[in-house]
């Protein structure tokens, strides 16, 4: 099982602010993912990476961006937060097909 960490766990921020959600894993997994999840709803893939310097957009259109400069680190950035970005953001990593998730970041944009 992967050790995967997300910070912050909770974030309340005003409209227009730039934010970066951090995700790190210590298992050396090549693949990492970001999902957006509204309460009680399914997970929607917004970004993924299959390795360093590789990033792809997921199924759900998102105004966020990601980078993968190091294997263990996969930060997600919102250049200008809006209330519509209020949601839970989940990071996951995998070596094969089984994804292991972090605890999530709950974002509230006022």
């Amino acid at each position: 099982e992967a050790d995967i960490y997300q910070t912050p766990r909770y974030l309340v921020i005003g409209t227009g602010k730039k934010i970066t959600l951090e995700c790190s894993q210590t298992m050396g997994h090549d693949k990492m993912y970001w999902y957006q999840q509204d309460p009680g709803m399914e997970l929607h893939l917004i970004h993924y990476s299959y390795g360093v310097n590789s990033t792809e957009k997921g199924d759900l259109s998102s105004e966020s961006t990601v980078s993968r400069i190091r294997t263990e680190h996969f930060p997600l950035t919102l250049e200008s937060a809006r209330p519509s970005h209020t949601s839970q953001y989940l990071c996951a990593s995998s070596r094969g097909e089984t994804q292991y998730f972090g605890p999530g970041t709950r974002l509230l944009v006022l």
């Binding site: 099982e1 709803m41 399914e42 997970l43 893939l45 097909e97 994804q99 998730f101 999530g104």
Partner: protein, 112 residues
């Protein structure tokens, strides 16, 4: 598009009962299936997985059944406990190079 979905949004059971959570998938080419448990305020936690060349796989108190004929996946939890209360998601993968597609969750409520 292809989809993975669950039949029941909420399942309420008594402690000690067996629980069955169902999932329908539409892509007959799906090769890998996985069940996650998500407790309130936490990320999804891996429970059990199964490949399309199997029809049953057992873990500790959990069993996953795969019926490829009707494209149906189920998670059975034996002797359900209050700690099993959570939202359960199924997910499918078409190929090792693709990403998981998640279905809508089923909330399992276990009363003492």
């Amino acid at each position: 598009g292809e989809s993975v979905g669950l039949h029941l949004p909420t399942l309420s059971v008594q402690e000690g009962d067996n629980s069955i959570i169902n999932c329908a998938y539409s892509n007959s080419a799906s090769d890998y299936f996985i069940w996650y448990k998500q407790e309130s305020g936490k990320g999804p936690q891996f429970i059990i997985d199964i490949r399309s060349n199997m029809d049953k796989r057992q873990g500790q108190r959990v069993t996953v059944l795969l019926n490829k004929t009707v494209k149906h996946l189920s998670l059975q939890i034996a002797a359900t406990q209050p700690g099993d209360s959570a939202v359960y998601f199924c997910a499918e993968n078409i190929s090792p190079g693709s990403t998981l597609t998640f279905g809508k969750g089923t909330m399992l409520l276990v009363s003492p």
